[in-house]
């Protein structure tokens, strides 16, 4: 059977599974819609969190990024896993004890202020929308590559599926479909990785194959370092970024992860505080399976690619090269007209342009794996994109129906009306996300990475101080969030978009003016520190929070008595 037939079969089966689960697990109350009724077992919640967290970017792009940047790619590996330690130790148990539905709920109640709540809602919406637009685009791209349909048609199909199970099932439906999606995506990622690891090193565990030697007895990492040097790229195992920037980006990604609303909300779905801690552990374990495989795949793919194409005659290249040239992800420009591919670090002489996404998408073809394995990657990519999109849409829907409509504009709304409002907001959010998927604004790709900086600069300090500093009051938290968020946005506008210096062309020249040599991606760290300092200083000079609020803080610090906190 051909790749296309296999892909239709695998995608068809997985979609039927998601829809079946959604019908079985549809939400009957607003509590089920927002937090799956608070009754998800920790291990399943861990899987759902992992699927929610690992987006099309993790699945498709990350191995490619690591592949092209080598050591520099470590910031994503450490950043996107280390954040879970912060979540487990500093946030999840306390937020679970607090026992509400959303992050703005916590901010609004802890800081006894609707202003704080609205600031949090705005931040949640900004972060979630930028993210979800990228996901819908990812769905479209996977569809177009694997099922040979138009990208826009792919986005429509994706929208229809997400609409169906997010609107019907709410958090409950999403959680159980995400469990299935995790299984699909991890299987789809691991199978080719294991195949390739055996092929290249004879070791079936990619994490070990990563440090093993190839057939010629040379360690793969040493070999690739040598190849990279020869071709004029930087050494694979050492980076090109400055140490302070690597440090700052890692902090921003870790802290941003711990501050992302669609991740935090997952810990509201388990029965007890104990289960919130356990879920975080399971989630990281399930994520780490993929994340520790990624750098191995990156190494295998890069070595394979260089060995296959470098200094080879164009007409002798294998069939996959032509396949991917058609998609535009691979471009060959024979600058010196010798009919041989020169892939080198010197930009003026380099003849091959490679899109980083190809490293995962084309990897099974490059390694000549069977057709069903290649098709599996398509189903996995869709699972990754759909699960993250659904999780984000739910955050958007609950921000609108719960935090804005129920808590601010119309507190008298009935349970039934709130559920209708939640479903309608989810439907509207899907349509908006789909619109951005079809007409992607140029800034999406850039902003997704910065969403972490924004979350780090706004939510993280407010939540941490809300738990660990009893004296923190609304004046401090609100000023801190606004200052942190604005600072981050300004830095981003100046150094990422060049707004104050005449547009995007100016960006490269501004590098020298970076604060302490820190890139916009890493600046979330500085903005977060400023947020902390401002919050604490302002709170020292303003009145302490009311007694009831201080009592709430003491209460969330101990794990027992969750039942009472849940009823409201």
């Amino acid at each position: 059977m051909g790749i296309l037939t296999w892909t239709w079969i695998l995608v068809g089966i997985s979609f039927a599974l998601y829809i079946g689960i959604a019908i079985w697990a549809r939400a009957g109350s607003s509590k089920e819609f927002y937090v799956a009724g608070g009754g998800v077992p920790p291990i399943l919640n861990g899987m759902a969190t992992a699927a929610d967290w690992m987006s099309a970017a993790s699945f498709i792009s990350l191995a490619g990024i690591v592949s092209f940047t080598g050591y520099d790619g470590s910031v994503y590996l450490m950043g996107w896993t280390g954040g879970y330690v912060l979540l487990a130790l500093l946030l999840a148990p306390y937020l679970r004890k607090f026992g509400k539905f959303t992050v703005p709920d916590f901010i609004g109640d802890r800081y006894y202020s609707n202003t704080a709540r609205i600031v949090a809602v705005i931040a949640a919406l900004v972060v979630s929308f930028t993210y979800v637009a990228g996901q819908m685009r990812g769905v479209g791209i996977v569809f177009s590559r694997y099922l040979e349909v138009d990208i826009n048609t792919g986005v429509y199909i994706g929208m229809a599926i997400v609409l169906f199970y997010a609107v019907l099932g709410g958090m409950k439906g999403i959680t159980y479909t995400q469990v299935a999606q995790y299984c699909v995506l991890i299987f789809a990622f691991m199978v080719p990785a294991i195949f390739i690891s055996i092929q290249m090193t004879g070791n079936a565990i990619p994490q070990l194959g990563f440090g093993a030697a190839g057939e010629d007895g040379v360690y793969l990492l040493d070999k690739l370092d040598g190849l990279q040097r020869e071709l004029g790229f930087h050494e694979y195992t050492s980076g090109s970024k400055s140490m302070i920037d690597v440090f700052a980006i890692t902090v921003a990604l870790m802290v941003g992860t711990a501050g992302l609303p669609h991740v935090i909300v997952r810990f509201f779905t388990v029965p007890k505080v104990k289960d919130a801690r356990k879920s975080a552990g399971w989630a990281l374990l399930f994520i780490a399976i993929l994340y520790t495989t990624i750098p191995a795949v990156a190494l295998f793919a890069r070595t394979n690619l260089i060995e296959t194409v470098s200094e080879k005659k164009y007409q002798d290249l294998p069939q996959w090269f032509a396949n991917w040239e058609k998609t535009g992800l691979l471009k060959f420009d024979d600058k010196n007209g010798d009919g041989i591919v020169q892939y080198v670090g010197d930009k003026s002489k380099n003849e091959l342009t490679i899109d980083r996404d190809i490293m995962v998408l084309a990897n099974p073809e490059i390694a000549q794996l069977p057709n069903w394995v290649i098709a599996l990657v398509g189903a996995g990519g869709l699972a990754a994109a759909l699960s993250t999109a659904a999780g984000l849409l739910l955050v958007i829907a609950s921000s609108v129906s719960h935090d804005l409509i129920k808590k601010v504009f119309n507190p008298n709304i009935t349970e039934k009306q709130e559920l209708v409002a939640a479903r309608l907001s989810a439907a509207v959010a899907v349509v908006i996300a789909g619109y951005f998927g079809i007409n992607p604004p140029g800034f999406v790709a850039a902003v997704v990475a910065l969403a972490f900086g924004l979350a780090a600069a706004s939510f993280f300090p407010a939540i941490i101080l809300g738990i660990f500093d009893k004296r923190m009051n609304k004046e401090g938290a609100i000023t801190g969030m606004i200052v942190g968020l604005s600072l981050m946005i300004l830095y981003m506008l100046k150094f990422k978009f060049g707004i104050f210096d005449g547009g995007k062309e100016a960006v490269a020249g501004l590098k020298l003016d970076w604060f302490l040599g820190i890139s916009p991606e890493g600046f979330g760290t500085i903005a977060m520190i400023v947020n902390f300092v401002v919050s604490i200083t302002v709170s020292k000079f303003t009145t302490a929070p009311p007694k009831e609020v201080q009592d709430i803080v003491e209460d969330i610090r101990i794990p027992s008595g969750v039942g009472e906190a849940l009823d409201h």
Binding site: M78, T81, G82, D222, K278, A288, E554
Partner: protein, 85 residues
């Protein structure tokens, strides 16, 4: 002990655990994987340079272990102070 005293003592021990666990978290990622990466890269274990290994493998293994250790410690602490359910 009254409920309040128990809560206070519980919180104090919890903070001590956090300090220890987060120091390890910082050590394996920021110190071994970033700050001392060049020095550690001089040491090779199998095909891995040690600093590079911490940055792309080791730190993540330690993160997972840290959370499970924390779960164990906290379950014990909950029982000790009678806050478990």
């Amino acid at each position: 002990m009254t409920h309040k005293e128990r809560a206070k003592a519980y919180w104090k021990e919890n903070l001590r655990y956090l300090l220890i666990l987060l120091s390890i978290w910082f050590l394996v990622s920021y110190v071994f994987g970033i700050l001392l990466v060049d020095q550690l890269n001089a040491i090779k274990i199998g095909g891995f340079k040690l600093g590079f290994w911490f940055a792309q493998q080791g730190s993540m293994y330690v993160f997972v272990i840290l959370i499970f250790v924390y779960i164990g410690l906290m379950n014990r602490l909950d029982k000790k102070y009678g806050f478990n359910e």
